[in-house]
Symmetry: C2
Subunit: 339 residues, 2 copies
């Protein structure tokens, strides 16, 4: 149901019946390693290209989420997914393997919550019993596409972010047990004129703040409504800018815990990741792996995940364009049995 | 509402309140020229890159559709759009200009009906009063990205298709006057092993047939339910393959008129377009321009538009992958006043 101008309230309480997270070896050395379902020891995943490795990540996550939910892929009505690769080849090829009716979506790193928002809306409205939301990224395929192949070993400025190698999938269901998706706010595209693809946190921070403001306005709530609000992935540089913007806009974020997925998955002291993490998979694996695990343990009751995306392409950057950004917010509550 | 396994019935009858179509000069010399709202005389649209020209097409179409619907852009809750460009830059940059909450979607040339299906589902479920669906393509930006820059003047085989320069947008509304969107069927990804990006019609035909079969199965109807079924864009080569597959699968398409958007927009005798037309804009401008005009004149009562997409990327092609394809179907009926 529409609430305010750009938010949905899910009055039928779609359930996250199961999730799956798959990551690469570098993520397996970070502080959240224990929260992921599969940690690969080899970032090629035994494939002969980075692109095929990326596709394998999402294929594994999708299959595992469906199995953990006690379903077969034939029972899942819709797969809503996307990734960073041009023409969403990772997700499209995975959709071929899965053979589930497919809705390709793209919001760069906000794809995690764009797909979860849509899957929840589809289930909430009775347009599906079971819908799968998923996304993936691979450090080497993303660097190759957007900046320089990792094989070059090029240096990066301190504002740069490290694309997560991983995939996260969530099976949303009209009934069952699990955390409940309660609302979503769809973001506008915001562009503050940043043109440096090595400083995406700064570009994305205003989009995160815009969506969070819209969420509070539409739902008539304040930050204290949530135990935790996470953006993802602004990383350190963007997090500081967002925090400053919250103060300027008089948004009382001190009512709650505010963190960023891009600051949680790697160990800044042991792992050289500059400003922090990014990539479609970052907010997906942090949310579906780490945060929902904390919710199941009873540590969190109500969270707001605000995934942020930088909508640049190699061509738009080469043509001197600035970086339009977007953020989509989804609220999740610890749930019991829904029916 | 879910109907069958992969279809939605829109029981609240979302209305296509207004549409807009914008095309380039080559489309303006074709047989449907009179049906388009804006025909540009210069394929650069006065911009300094093909990419910016493409973005201008969708910006114009979106603004015109909103104006024709008697709304301001501030009243439109969601813009659901995508295009062929990597990272959907045409749509993302247009969403920045429009400042409407944005859901990026990608289904290659099926994006026209993916976006209309989602916009209709969102409005039908009460998740929006007004949602805009739109897509665009530009011949020169697409050729440059997927094959060779048009400036090279390279030759093409007879199976090749000519990407339409244009954009189409539809404003879907919970009330008002106009054609009504009655159902949608979301397609699976089908891949028959075709690897030639100059023969996309052959690759896409099986996906079109799969979705059409699913549509009839889910809704319990036969082809005769519709006055017209159009695929888009299989063009001549794909149309013949699809027709053969309908016969093999015993689908009685002779009950209705069956055509293809890729065979309608150009004049085969006067315009050198090989197998016919393609591109995100093709099915969008043929549907929103030509077919809905025929519906308003009373010539068509009930149509099924089955937009087909080839989900390849330049990288997947260079790595020797085959072309996964998809098709999404949307049914539209001549409507009176809905409320």
């Amino acid at each position: 149901m529409l609430k305010g101008h750009q938010s949905w309230i899910f009055e039928n309480k779609p359930v996250i019946r199961s999730t799956a997270t798959v990551v690469g070896p570098f993520e397996g050395r970070g502080p959240l390693a224990e929260d992921f379902d599969i940690v690969h020891g080899d970032s090629t995943l035994g494939q002969d290209s980075w692109e095929k490795a990326e596709r394998t990540l999402i294929e594994e996550a999708a299959k595992l989420a469906i199995e953990s939910g006690g379903l077969t892929k034939e029972q899942v009505q819709f797969y809503i997914g996307g990734d960073l690769m041009a023409q969403l080849i990772s997700s499209s090829f995975a959709a071929r393997t899965l053979s589930i009716p497919f809705l390709g979506v793209f919001g760069a790193c906000s794809t995690s919550m764009e797909s979860l928002a849509l899957a929840s809306m589809i289930v909430n409205s009775g347009s599906a019993k079971f819908a799968l939301a998923g996304t993936c990224s691979h450090n080497s395929s993303a660097e190759k596409q957007f900046r320089y192949p990792t094989e070059y070993g090029s240096q990066k400025p301190p504002t740069a972010q490290y694309t997560v190698t991983g995939a996260g999938a969530a099976l949303v269901s009209s009934e069952g047990e699990g955390p409940v998706v309660t609302s979503a706010t769809i973001g506008r595209v915001i562009d503050m004129g940043i043109t440096d693809p090595f400083n995406m946190g700064a570009a994305m921070a205003p989009a995160a703040v815009d969506t969070i403001e819209a969420h509070f306005r539409d739902l008539g709530v304040e930050p204290g409504h949530y135990d935790l609000i996470v953006t993802g992935d602004l990383a350190k540089v963007g997090y500081e800018i967002a925090s400053e913007l919250f103060r300027k806009h008089n948004i009382p974020m001190d009512q709650t815990e505010y963190s960023d997925c891009g600051m949680m998955i790697y160990d800044y002291e042991q792992q050289m990741v500059q400003s922090g993490a990014s990539g479609c998979a970052c907010s997906a694996v942090v949310t579906y792996g780490h945060l929902l695990k904390r919710m199941r343990k009873g540590e969190l009751k109500r969270i707001l995940v605000v995934a942020t995306g930088a909508l640049l392409s190699p061509i738009s950057y080469q043509q001197g364009e600035s970086i339009p950004c977007i953020a989509h917010a989804v609220s999740i509550e610890a749930g019991g049995v829904s029916s």
